[in-house]
């Protein structure tokens, strides 16, 4: 099996080199036959990498500890369900996973390329294949997951216990897939640029692929914070950890892009800017892939200590040089002839949105890099942690939230102060009223009032948009339900976007609730003892232990009296892995939309007493529910409009010399 896996990797490398060279040659000698041949060869890649993946997974299932990777990331005691997690738990496996996902996305991108973009297809294919070649070459030369040891151990070292969590089935694969998928919109756009098609033809296709990458990455990030919340034991969901940051940065840039692309789609503006955004997102994604697969800490060492680090750095540099090289080459042609009519318009709001998203990205990148800078210039390591990011990014994110309530109400092109005030007065009054009511109810923190007020602003303005649209349609004789459905159907990017905005508001509610009104308490309880926190009474009943093959589990039984007087029981869980000298906890959580009661066990002294950290986290429930709304919103935005969106967009372009731009 192992040999088959390695063989498929070599075959995949050969195929991708052939497609890379063949597609460029086909363009040079204008041979459609060669192009077709390379095109079909590219479809082989997912199959070959699928075989390699299955080979590695079957080695895990057969406990073939002669394979070094299997021995390092599993053992006999491991639940076979976690084979999937073990598959990408280490360096080599995660690179194989990345190569698999890249191959699938590349094949899909080539398959779904509209016919009128066939001129730039060879370049797009070449760029996709360059990335494939890179990962495959790294796999066969530096990070072979099928490396076999001469003296196989009797049992493996086992999987990292932190990874044995349901969230781990989805979080790392989605996050890595989202990062690597950014290659597709990048390749589509670059192909058109190299071919000299600097107009708006690439926009719709790149938008669809960007939304795919953006959604996958977004869900991956959110699942990661859910994992952190339930397992890491500090009751938080976001630590501004380098691993989190490097996934967040490309997501932020993509968010800026999915907004500003709407301006190009509708008004033919910001052409240069959009190219720059895709370039930045792609470079940051490569950076994220590098940090994700290996070095958890960004330091001089994570780059310099291994040949792999240098290789990734080299590829990163190459990507950056190439993308901006093409950009400057096409700079003159990219200049847009459309003028910005007013700084009080939707276009201007999008520009401000982009500035703010890039500001958050810059702050985050700076925070990630600063320890390195300090190490180089001062010779001492510093920590740049949560307080830095919260103080720098918090206010910018708050302004973004406010802008989210105002921007969608501004008209395209230009507006007068009077018309803007006319559209804004209801949402602004409503938001102020919400803030006043909250203040009267005892909310005293200024930032909390601003946050909740901004949330109200967004919700009211979106509701108004919907209500007005439905009312206008109803006036044409449609019943309200039909009008609502047709309103969304008629402009999915716009109304899908609004649904995503609502999801972001839910996320913001969770963040604000936890940040401003979360309370915590450390308690040391003997069996039978009681503590109280914000209306909850928690009694520690005692513990039960369970010895498993690889771990000792302890269940802490807790009797809880809720603020309303109702009683319930909760169980906090802790396991100690002697082989790894590592403890893993699972919080006991009682979740309601209003607030979470969250109890987690700490390292406890012997002798019957137990130490707990108890949190009350208001509104966190909204954060996770918001994730579902987020997925729904992106599906609405992505769902093909009347048949196949791409074909439609391209045929529409063919029919009319000046493209009909859909309302956003």
């Amino acid at each position: 099996m192992v040999q088959i896996g390695l063989l498929s990797l070599y075959l995949a490398l050969a195929v991708s080199v052939y497609v890379l060279a063949g597609s460029l040659v086909s363009k040079a000698i204008k041979s459609p036959q060669l192009l077709e041949s390379t095109r079909f060869s590219a479809y082989l890649l997912p199959a070959l990498l699928g075989v390699a993946t299955l080979a590695l997974i079957s080695a895990f299932l057969q406990h073939d500890f002669s394979v070094e990777y299997v021995a390092a990331h599993s053992n006999l005691a491991m639940n076979p369900a976690y084979t999937w997690v073990a598959f990408y738990a280490g360096n080599e496996g995660s690179l194989l996973y990345l190569a698999l996902v890249l191959a699938i996305f590349s094949a899909l991108a080539i398959l779904l390329m509209p016919k009128d973009m066939v001129q730039s297809l060879p370049y797009t294919m070449a760029i996709l294949m360059a990335a494939n070649v890179f990962f495959l070459a790294v796999l066969v030369t530096m990070a072979n997951p099928f490396a076999v040891s001469a003296f196989p151990p009797l049992d493996g070292q086992g999987i990292n216990p932190l990874l044995t969590h349901p969230g781990m089935f989805m979080h790392p694969p989605l996050q890595m897939a989202g990062l690597i998928a950014i290659t597709v919109p990048f390749a589509v756009m670059m192909g058109q640029m190299i071919d000299g098609r600097v107009g708006d033809e690439w926009v719709e296709l790149a938008r669809v692929w960007t939304l795919v990458a953006w959604t996958v990455l977004g869900i991956g990030i959110l699942l990661g914070s859910w994992w952190a919340y339930t397992i890491l034991g500090w009751g938080g969901f976001w630590g501004w950890d380098p691993i989190e940051n490097v996934a967040l940065m490309p997501w932020l840039v993509l968010t800026a892009f999915v907004h500003s692309i709407m301006v190009q789609k509708r008004r033919g503006m910001f052409r240069m800017w959009n190219v720059v955004l895709v370039n930045i997102a792609f470079t940051l994604a490569l950076f994220g892939v590098f940090i994700n697969r290996g070095g958890p800490v960004v330091s001089v060492h994570s780059f310099a200590s291994t040949a792999l680090g240098w290789t990734f750095l080299g590829f990163l540099g190459l990507g950056l040089t190439f993308s901006f090289g093409v950009f400057f080459w096409r700079l003159n042609a990219l200049r847009s002839m459309v003028a910005l009519e007013s700084s009080l318009s939707r276009e201007a709001a999008f520009l401000l949105n982009n500035l703010l998203f890039l500001a958050v990205t810059f702050v985050t990148l700076w925070g990630v890099m600063f320890p390195l800078i300090s190490e180089i210039f001062q010779g001492k390591t510093l920590t740049v942690g949560a307080p830095f990011y919260n103080q720098m990014n918090g206010p910018v994110l708050l302004v973004l939230l406010l802008l989210m309530g105002v921007g969608p109400l501004l008209p395209w092109r230009h507006a007068t102060r009077a018309t803007v005030w006319h559209t804004l007065q209801v949402p602004v009054t409503g938001a102020l009223a919400v803030a006043v009511v909250l203040a009267a109810l005892g909310v005293r923190n200024l930032f909390a009032l601003l946050s909740f007020g901004a949330c109200a602003l967004v919700v009211i303005s979106i509701s108004l948009e919907w209500a007005r649209g439905v009312r206008a349609r109803h006036g044409r004789g449609e019943n309200y339900l039909l009008a609502f459905g047709r309103l969304i159907a008629a402009n999915r990017p716009r109304y899908g976007g609004y649904v995503v905005h609502l999801a972001i508001v839910m996320l913001a509610l969770g963040v604000a609730g936890k940040t401003f009104y979360g309370v915590q308490q450390d308690v040391n309880l003997g069996p039978g003892e009681i503590t109280t926190l914000r209306g909850y009474t928690v009694q520690y009943l005692g513990d039960r232990s369970l010895v498993k093959a690889d771990r000792d589990e302890i269940f802490y039984d807790l009797a809880v009296t809720l603020p309303g007087g109702k009683e319930t029981t909760l169980v906090a869980w802790r396991a100690f892995y002697p082989d790894k000298n590592m403890a893993v906890t699972r919080a006991a959580i009682r979740s309601t939309p209003w607030e979470d009661l969250y109890i987690i066990s700490s390292e406890s002294p012997d002798g019957g007493r137990a130490i707990f950290r108890i949190h009350v986290n208001p509104l966190i429930w909204w954060m996770w529910t918001g994730g579902i709304v987020f997925i729904f919103g992106t599906l609405v935005a992505l769902w093909p409009q009347q048949g196949f969106a791409l074909e439609l967009a391209s045929s529409r372009r063919k029919l009319s010399p000046s493209p009909v731009r859909t309302e956003v």
């Binding site: 201007a348 520009l351 942690g385 602004v428 203040a439 200024l446 915590q520 700490s602 309302e663």
Partner: protein, 177 residues
Amino acid sequence: MSLTRKTLLLLALLLALPLVLSCMTQSALTIEEQAQAIDKGLMCPICAGETIDQSQSTLAQQMREVVREKLAAGETGDQIIAYFVERYGESILAAPKKAGFSLVAWGMPVLGIVFGAGVLVLVVRRMRRPASQEPQGSSAHAGSGDGEMSPYLAVVDEDLRQLIGKGQSPPQSKAAS
């Protein structure tokens, strides 16, 4: 209608002002609240990337106790932080100090954002000088003021046109036949 809205707004503003002002005066924090704020600013020396507030290790538990003892003994937050920096070095701080070289960490993002905003303003100014005049025909969204429904009706009209255009045979082919 718009008059009542305006009065409503004025009323809201008047109500909001004293409340906002009252937010500025924070009530005194308890020792535990102060301690938790200090915990969040100190890294656990033996844990990867966790503050002593986050970490459940015994060392972090002991450090938390030290913070509370010192607060109870009347030391200020700054004194306690200085105590830990002296013992463990500057990397114990969860965020760089706002002094000396570390000030760069805080200053650079602010400079970057100000620079970005400056560039944006310049770009907007340049873009506002039109390079070529665009036909002004289809400014359906300008909101010319004839009733608050008009921009929405225009949107709906446009959407309907597209829907109908797609549902039936495209007008272009009709013209061709």
